[in-house]
Symmetry: D2
């Protein structure tokens, strides 16, 4: 996503598709209209997030890392990947809503924690888990 | 999430934690500062989303559906679940940004498609996949 | 699986379908014939195991725990679940073979370790992770 | 796994660690001793398989495909990967047993079906899903 795209998106109002809480309200209404709340407990929603994450990943399973970006050059595959990414987001947003988790705030807290765990000086250019970052 | 919570969140400005594009800009900056873009191709990010989705689900694996909500009554577990939900979101948001997917728009499109696939009259109170919804 | 089924299966020779190494030889031959070894590195195989595990789980996502056994009463669903379970096994067996892991021995070692982590006296009737088993 | 390793393993008797049914009997006894059958319904076991598959995959998430084999050169990582592979197998074997699925037979059937879906002439050297294999 280019800087420009990010700029355009963040310039939109809180009613836009980019606002988590606005999207959550739509997702919850969709489930409520169909009386699906009875199925959508935290356990089942967490399962559903993982199922959809598996489907998203499926598009990349045999591709070499360096060719992974080219997977999206195929229009049909791009549409499928977009739909799978949307599915993960829809269920994750509903999970957070049902659990009473403020997802945006949780993300901010986790980024702050990651900044402590992965100081730039230590983590730069290294894909090493935090618990091994300070070894050797 | 109560109506009230949703109201408070959606009333905040586009600079708030609830805006996907704003969060994506922070996530991309975090990765760029650590020169992690080399690892964060679509394949690896899709894998990472699925790994974190598994960790989120782990908290619910032996719990009965009807007790799943109570899992979050334990403060330590709630914090862990919030962190895992944040991890899934962070990686999914980065995946979308790296792939040039407008996640909010993709969600809106998928909800519209789901509305066609699951008409209220047919889907009410039934957890049946769309391809079997019109059978028997 | 009844005791009887287990008995019948374990009475068969090492050439039977129940022997992991025999199955691995067939799986490796299948991949080699199609020159798929180039795609089947440990990373891609681990991804594939997780994708198939997601598809297996998909059949149970909205079902209540106590109704989960009844899912398999439907003949079509049973066949699909069997195929998904087979897919997970095929890819896991290939993963182990490609990594040089003796899966049977690894299972035996893990069961021995679990026996230490989950002593009967402490773990009986409790679905609690080992690191919390000794708390309060 | 070298041909030699496979040979050694398949030469062992049906009582060896390489026999699925023998391993299933041990796994079921382990769960029964702890009165865990109440938690181990098909839904929860399918979830658990997917959680463990995610943990297995976690070891490879930032690694380039061509370096994936080298991950196992590190002794500590190899042990961890072996344990995760064992966890997936243990839960998958228990899942099959609880569902009354003969896993070995299911694998043989799936391999036969895959042989039809992926004829050598069409599939050689190509990592393309069967439903797209006959296109263009």
């Amino acid at each position: 996503m280019s800087e420009q795209n990010l700029g355009v998106a963040s310039a939109t109002s809180s009613q836009s598709a980019s606002d988590i809480a606005t999207l959550q309200a739509k997702i919850l209404a969709f489930a409520a209209e169909r009386e699906w709340q009875q199925f959508h407990d935290p356990k089942n929603l967490a399962m559903a997030v993982a199922v959809e994450a598996g489907e998203l990943m499926d598009h990349f399973r045999w591709v070499r890392s360096e060719e992974a970006r080219r997977v999206l050059d195929d229009a049909r595959t791009r549409t499928e990947v977009e739909e799978e990414a949307a599915d993960v987001a829809i269920l994750l947003f509903e999970f957070a809503a049902v659990c009473g988790i403020d997802l945006g705030a949780a993300i901010e807290r986790k980024l702050a924690r990651n900044a402590e765990r992965y100081p730039v000086a230590l983590a730069k250019g290294r894909a090493v888990k935090h618990d091994r970052l300070r070894e050797g």
